[in-house]
């Protein structure tokens, strides 16, 4: 799986998440990944843009799209645009990535737009393409959707619109300049003036005629009024169905005397938020909201499961365990052939404080989508009994991965998958020593090393390797295994990469309307 010498990148460029690992400040990783982004961009801009169609983290795609938008596309023709693609392909990709992300994780999509306004340390970019991208994304949607968006993401939308249009234009629009409104916003939604007023803290007309299309915005302003007046009864009336973050924000800012438990019960949360805030809801004394665990992602379920086990909270642990089994059984499986899986459960797999347990949870999630697993071997770790009597392994102790390798080789199963951060210490080099011996003495097996911890100091690419023969697949998200496999295969041949990605483009975007950005 050697990469082209001139193209020193790996799929870590699509998987970077700006959170520190167990041992590295995230800025070191960022520098490493940024260097790969720049390298690929300079190497082949077309390839750079097409690659963003593969599965990856929202942050990576946002950063890569930021790079595309910050650099104008100066040429056309076959040198830049492969014959099978329209000239607008780059714009379509940017828009597609944003829309796709917004379907999966809306908040991340907004953050990616915020990168253009200087968010997350990126350089501000403001040009015709970014302006249209921002305004179209916000306003080109039905009123119900826009209403909800404007209440849920008020501050961020305000920043984005201000970035796109500038203070002067905003001032004029909010103060009644019809022409400017039509030119920039009305073209996407002719009724959206109350939304703009709301975003810029000008109370819209609350008459049904004026804000009837935006009931949440109306409710927001009534709730704000009640909070400012200390009218608890009205506050309670208007908080029903409002986003929980907004209600808690008003409660805290205006010191509204109302129990958090009541807010948890009456306001709304997304499915993901409800799982994430389960413990906070419980602490507040609110009636527990019934959570349908089976609707959740397996990673989130493992996370919830482990946090309950580690904090000694037995509630719903059985339901979560059942849901993990259910979701795993229903998951679309990835087949790498008959395999043995070695899971590194040493201490470093706890990950950083910012993403506690992430490497280990990613490993467990990978396990739930792998097909034809003959045996699972844990190396390191400590077995603890859960409140439901099921034993689980928690990351602890040193790393003697060589023991797992020998056990795996003894099974004679042809594929050995190692899920490890690549830091072997007991004793360093013993994994490679055993591996070399087996390979040089007639044992036939295929070793695949998936690394859920990125490392800026990795000898090559973004993940630390266990043996030079086996390039690790960096994996920040279990859902990206396919990307990894494609990436590692196609990097050997740039033209094949392009052909594959052009096909992917046509499959994903071929049918969608080509919107000018």
């Amino acid at each position: 799986m050697a990469s082209t010498p001139a193209l020193k990148i790996d799929s870590g460029i699509l998987q970077y998440v700006p959170k520190g690992q167990f041992y590295e400040a995230s800025d070191a990783q960022f520098t490493a990944v940024m260097s790969m982004w720049k390298h690929l961009f300079k190497f082949d801009r077309t390839l750079f843009s097409l690659i963003t169609l593969l599965g990856g983290t929202g942050f990576s795609k946002g950063a890569m799209n930021h790079m595309l938008l910050a650099n104008s596309q100066t040429g056309t023709g076959t040198d830049l645009v492969p014959s099978a693609l329209p000239e607008e392909f780059e714009k379509n990709i940017i828009r597609y990535n944003l829309e796709k992300l917004s379907e999966e994780r809306f908040a991340r999509a907004i953050k990616n737009l915020m990168m253009l306004a200087g968010g997350e340390g990126f350089v501000k970019v403001n040009n015709a393409r970014t302006r249209k991208l921002i305004l179209e994304f916000i306003f080109s949607r039905d009123n119900k959707n826009l209403d909800s968006l404007a209440v849920n993401f008020k501050t961020k939308l305000r920043k984005l619109v201000r970035h796109a249009l500038g203070k002067q234009t905003i001032h004029k629009i909010v103060n009644g300049d019809e022409d400017l409104f039509q030119k920039w916003i009305g073209r996407y939604n002719r009724l959206a003036l109350p939304v703009v007023e709301h975003l810029f803290d000008k109370q819209p007309q609350l008459r049904a005629k004026a804000t009837g299309n935006f009931p949440l915005i109306r409710q927001y302003w009534y709730m704000k009024k009640a909070a400012a007046e200390g009218n608890v009864e009205n506050f309670k009336k208007y908080m029903k169905g409002m986003p929980q973050r907004t209600v808690i924000g008003f409660r805290n800012s205006f010191k509204v005397p109302i129990a958090l438990s009541e807010i948890y019960e009456k306001s709304t949360m997304s499915d993901r938020e409800s799982l994430q805030s389960e413990a906070a809801v419980k602490r507040s004394g609110a009636k527990a909201v019934e959570i349908n665990y089976k609707k959740h992602d397996v990673y989130d379920l493992w996370k919830s499961f482990y946090f309950k086990v580690l904090s000694g909270d037995p509630e719903n642990v059985d339901k979560i365990a059942e849901a993990i089994d259910y979701v795993s059984s229903k998951a679309e499986k990835i087949s790498l052939g008959e395999c043995v899986v070695i899971i590194d459960a040493s201490r470093s797999m706890v990950g950083s404080d910012e993403r506690k347990l992430h490497p280990f949870l990613t490993s467990l999630s990978v396990l739930s989508i792998l097909d034809d697993v003959k045996e699972v071997i844990y190396v390191g770790g400590k077995t603890v009994e859960t409140p439901i009597g099921r034993n689980v392994v928690i990351p602890m102790n040193h790393t003697d991965l060589w023991k797992g390798l020998i056990r795996a080789v003894k099974t004679k199963v042809p594929n050995i998958i190692v899920l490890s951060d690549g830091y072997e210490n007991a004793v360093k080099g013993m994994f490679k020593h055993a591996y070399d011996y087996f390979k040089n003495n007639g044992r036939v097996f295929n070793l695949i090393h998936m690394n859920p911890v990125f490392s800026a100091e990795a000898k090559s690419g973004t993940a630390r390797m266990l043996t030079p023969d086996v390039k690790p697949l960096p994996l920040s998200d279990y859902r990206h295994i396919e990307t990894e496999l494609i990436f590692n295969r196609i990097l050997e041949n740039k033209e094949m990469v392009k052909a594959l990605l052009v096909n992917k483009y046509q499959k994903l975007l071929g049918g969608i309307k080509d919107v000018t950005i």
Binding site: R347, S348, I406, K410, N425, E457
Partner: protein, 320 residues
């Protein structure tokens, strides 16, 4: 008689040996020793003047131990390090007026710590001299720091800024690497640290919880820093443990047996090196509450602090 027996450390064991290039760490495992404040209850507060570090112990029932040569760093203020270990009484604050400034041309007093570490081995050795250690002279380490940094091509003009070393990006990465390569094991309370098979330090904390909090400062800031420096200066021969020979034709079980045997015997091979370390002298330094601090000197010209609670040793930090 082993060093641990000489000092009365009973009930301790040895964990699996861990190594990364020239550094080897032998974990020391055992149960909690004495009644010492939990590490979370001990906080560095501020420097009230150059050379004075103030710590607060929020535990109202137990005395707290500050690890030897604990170092705090921050922006816009002079970084400081303790001249030795320290004990803070239950529920009280204590000022240590013999601390060392480790950034000679930086003004300003610290309020809280942005970064924490432990001084590198060679600088710690300087402070084994009681006349230097006890002296209330904040600049007492500057000359030694300049010397320690000499030849590394970091910072500017030979100034005594320890941060010039830690904050150099390439060095910072190398140090993080050391921290990454070693993992605390269950019930670990300390470690023997070796460079190229030669013991350079022995650290024992009162509990696994204390080790959990302080191990990174020791492995990265103290021992890792010293090793990185020695490598940069070409003063240490690159080496790694020699792994066992596996005869051709060995079956899987034989391979397992050879590797297992190597891993379990490696500590037996390394531990006798500790037998040669003898305590040359003991100097009583401080009695605070139930804790007595003694400065030990070894025949290898090393030494460090032993803290006992009553007759029970609860903390040991030796640089060799």
């Amino acid at each position: 008689m082993s060093l641990f027996d000489q000092l009365g450390f009973s009930g301790i064991g040895i964990g699996p040996v861990q190594s990364e290039d020239e550094m080897t760490v032998i974990p020391i495992v055992g149960s909690t020793r004495g009644d010492v404040a939990r590490p979370q209850n001990l906080q560095f507060q501020r420097t009230t003047s150059y050379g004075t570090m103030v710590f607060e112990n929020k535990d109202n029932d137990h005395e707290a131990i500050i690890p030897s040569n604990f170092m705090v760093r921050g922006r816009g203020a002079q970084d400081h390090a303790m001249a030795g270990s320290g004990v803070v009484r239950k529920g009280q604050s204590r000022s240590f007026t013999n601390a060392c400034c480790v950034e000679e041309s930086q003004g300003g007093l610290l309020r809280g710590a942005e970064k924490q570490d432990v001084l590198p081995v060679e600088l710690r050795k300087v402070l084994l001299d009681t006349s230097i250690r006890s002296e209330d002279r904040y600049s007492k380490l500057w000359g030694k720091i300049s010397g320690w940094l000499r030849g590394l091509n970091v910072g500017s003009g030979g100034r005594a800024h320890i941060g010039d070393f830690y904050d150099t990006p390439a060095i910072g990465d190398a140090l993080e690497n050391f921290a990454a390569a070693f993992e605390p094991v269950q019930n670990q309370i300390g470690a023997v640290i070796m460079f190229n098979g030669v013991p350079v330090g022995i650290e024992i904390m009162p509990s696994a919880e204390h080790w959990e909090v302080y191990w990174k400062y020791l492995i990265r800031g103290c021992y890792g820093a010293e090793l990185v420096r020695l490598k940069m200066l070409g003063k240490i021969r690159p080496s790694a443990l020699v792994l066992p020979n596996i005869p051709e034709g060995s079956d899987d079980n034989k391979v397992e047996e050879i590797m297992d045997s190597f891993a379990s015997h490696i500590q037996q091979e390394l531990l006798p090196l500790l037998e040669g370390i003898q305590i040359k002298s003991q100097t009583s330094l401080d009695q605070t509450g139930s804790m007595r601090t003694t400065l030990l000197r070894t025949d290898s010209d090393g030494g460090g602090d032993l803290v006992q609670q009553g007759d029970e040793p609860v903390y040991l930090s030796l640089v060799l």
